[in-house]
């Protein structure tokens, strides 16, 4: 009797995205499997100043948080705008994908995505300058993420000082 209609069971907010970690140790199949079972989320577009406490407060609204790992600049060892949030249950992470992804933290729209699971070393940015790759190449000025992108900073050292 309990017929489930595919057209009605859409739950697209918890779908796995197109992103795959290029440093993942294992094949595509393993990675997919882990993503589908994961209790861990990657959180991006954070301000460099967003604290673990703020992340904990927001993400606790969807379930009990087991731990938070703040992403760090590989060289400076300071926050560089991303983190991992691990829940005790898959349900907590799913609710975060449905209701916290795409809303604001520290006035910024943050993005969440499934993560295959935290491993030591993954808390560091992979950009050449030590932060995240996206901060290497971006052209805009973002005061909460170190100002201009690293490449752009090289091209305009004077301007950066005179602006604002």
């Amino acid at each position: 009797m309990s017929a489930k209609l595919n057209a009605l069971t859409s739950d697209s907010y918890i779908d796995v995205s197109q992103y795959r970690d290029q440093h993942f140790k294992g094949n595509r199949y393993d990675q997919e499997k882990l993503l589908k079972q994961s209790n861990t989320l990657y959180v991006g577009n954070l301000s460099f100043y967003t604290t673990e406490e703020q992340v904990h407060e927001l993400f606790s609204k969807s379930g009990d948080v087991k731990r938070i790992i703040i992403g760090l600049d590989k060289i400076k060892k300071t926050a560089c705008g991303f983190c991992f949030v691990e829940y005790y249950t898959r349900a907590g992470a799913e609710h975060a994908m449905r209701f916290i992804n795409g809303t604001r933290l520290d006035d910024r729209i943050i993005r969440t995505d499934w993560d295959a699971g935290f491993k030591e070393g993954r808390q560091y940015g992979r950009g050449k300058s030590g932060g995240q790759v996206r901060d290497e190449y971006r052209q805009d000025y973002d005061p909460a993420r170190g100002g201009y992108g690293k490449l752009a900073q090289q091209h305009r050292p004077q301007e950066a000082r005179n602006t604002f």
């Binding site: 009797m1 017929a3 489930k4 209609l5 595919n6 057209a7 009605l8 859409s10 739950d11 697209s12 907010y13 918890i14 779908d15 995205s17 197109q18 992103y19 290029q22 991006g44 577009n45 604290t51 673990e52 406490e53 703020q54 904990h56 407060e57 927001l58 609204k61 969807s62 009990d64 731990r67 938070i68 790992i69 703040i70 609710h95 994908m97 449905r98 209701f99 916290i100 992804n101 795409g102 809303t103 604001r104 933290l105 520290d106 006035d107 993005r111 995505d113 790759v133 996206r134």
Partner: protein, 795 residues
Amino acid sequence: MSRRRHSDENDGGQAHKRRRTSEPIEIEDRLESLICRVGEKSTSSLESNLEGLAGVLEADLPNYKNKILRILCAVARLLPEKLTVYTTLVGLLNARNYNFGGEFVEAMIRQLKETLKNNLYNEAVYLVRFLSDLVNCHVIAAPSMVAMFENFVSVTQEEDVPQVRSDWFVYVVLSCLPWVGKELYEKKDVEMDRLLSQIEGYLKGRVKTHVPMLQVWTAEKPHPQEEYLDCLWAQIQKLKKDRWQERHILRPYIAFDSVLCEALQHNLPPFTPPGHMPDAQYPMPRVVFRMFDYTDAPEGPVMPGSHSVERFVIEENLHCIIKTHWKERKTCAAQLLSYPGKNKIPLNYHIVEVIFGELFQLPIPPHIDVMYTTLLIELCKLQPGSLPQVLAQATEMLYMRLDTMNTTCIDRLINWFSHHLSNFQFRWSWDDWSDCLAVDLDKPKPKFVKEVLEKSMRLSYHQRIVDIVPSTFSALIPAEPLFTYKYVEENAASLPGYPVSITVGNAIKNRASNEEILTILKEVPNPNQEDDDDEGESFNPLKIDVFLQTLLHLAAKSFSHSFSALGKFHEILKTLADSDEGKLHLLKVVYEVWRNHPQMIAVLVDKLIRTQIVDCAAVANWLFSQDMAHEFTRLFIWEILHSTIRKMNKHVQKIQKELEEAKDKLEKQQHKRRDSGDDEDMDKNSEDEEGQLEEQIERLQEKVESAQSEQKNLFLVIFQRFIMLLTEHLVRCETGSVDISTPWYKNCIERLQQIFLMHHVTIQQYMGTLENLLFTAELDHHILAVYQQFCALQL
């Protein structure tokens, strides 16, 4: 090769839909899609879409009849907000194929029996409503529908059944009448009058002890919070007075009347309601949430009155839409805003009222709280010119009525409002609320603002809060969340623990071993003892104080630092907190150092429980202790208590699950052995395995019993403490001839209610003990009333 994450323009999940192919290949999927999508926005009229679909389905009947039956039964159950669209469709099919109509009715009856057997009472309501609307589509003969209703109402004559059982059968009948009342009265008015009169008699005799526990406001003004059956009865009475003229429901079948009235009708088979089973879980009673009336929408269409049947239908449909789409906030918001007939009603007001109604629903909201916050944000995005204003108006109204709002609901309002503000740069006209500054800080309004600012600070930072409120609000601004270290203030050097605090601090920094640290701690004098011939084994509060203060001070930088510290020194902490007094004192120290950072207290207590340094009962005792009395009405106290109870419950469930799994494994093993034949070796191995499993089951059984005992004890501790505190207050007031209704009392008694409501499933197991030991007739009637209201929820 792009290593970028998927585009930042994506706004969450639904962008992915655009990338997938949208046409299902298989015919069955196509049928499902066609049926599910009929009635949605289209270039053609609904009537021509229905006509077209009926033709397609009729043509597919020879090959796909069962699939079509299955899909139609499913949409009847799962898409109640589109009820009349699908009844019309079934009507058209029945007109073209009488046998199919009959088979559909039979399938629906089967499905109804199944849902009732499986305690799916809400879905059963939708099925019966569907059947009743099929009368309007000439699929079912009116007299047979009346007969079914008569059977339902006869349940009210049953004896020794829970009230919630007969409630449900009466509710089903009444809730169908907006759709089919007119038709049934035209055909069978005598029988319907008798039916309604029976219902009226039943409603008059109902026990309504449960109502105060479920009301969001205790005040009757401006909108009475009515019990749901009373409200529905009033709505049906009014409908009857209006001669069953109902103009809100969309009825596509009217356009097809000439076709449908040619169709032959089917009789519903006689339906006997299934008897009462002891494990039946009937829906809990509820109170209708109302916050708006016709005076609130300043311009545009008028809001239907509280006793109009239109109000009932609109609210039902909006609740159904949320139920269908809650996981996908964009779709949910879009569906709510495209409600058919929206031009004749102040839709934004209805939507906001229904959403808050769910958010504030007692005992618990139908969906997770954060969903409502995000849904409201989506709605604001889709209607930026109108919805934010309605929401602001609603917030203002809720603020004005805080004095009589249930404490649990105030909690949810605090969490919603602070989270909402954090998405809109905390912009709010705080000056409009400056009236809260003129009263005592323990009154509901300033208390609310204080808690909102505290939660807002957690989502941002202290200076931000200072910046967003007028300076007149400074008394309500939370303290800066800083550590308070006893051994570094002025005059610390004279404190008895000071020297050791320095030594142990250095030891920790130099990564000394646990043994070394314990040796250092032996030097701490024990204020509880005269001589120091004891080896430091008994409870020494100063030792705990010195070690924990120093450790937490060194780890104060972040949650992670503190968690790491608790992990590293787990052994020492467990040793220090070995007794009940030790555990209590440990918690006391955590509070003392972090009293300006309640968020940190909560996460530390959580870790201490999870790492078994303290147990749940210790936390309960600590929260109710005299030392914490001055914080008793603050939100963070109750968040900690409820989180503690939840951890206890999850722990019991986990072990019970392990036990069930072990039992299943044993059963499988025994079957395997029986089926495996005469292999002696296999037999012996099997026996060994079985023996091991049996041992494991015995151990788990003990573990379950021990966990349940701990759980029961936790509730006993909590309830005992409540009773003590409340009794003390009541006696004091009575002897002093003072009014008992202080803000503290209202908070405390509603917190007691909250324990029952939030954990009612677990508490049900221990009712016998609670009644015998605690909630006896000797108790003050104010306190006993809470218990009786709770019992009335499932009577």
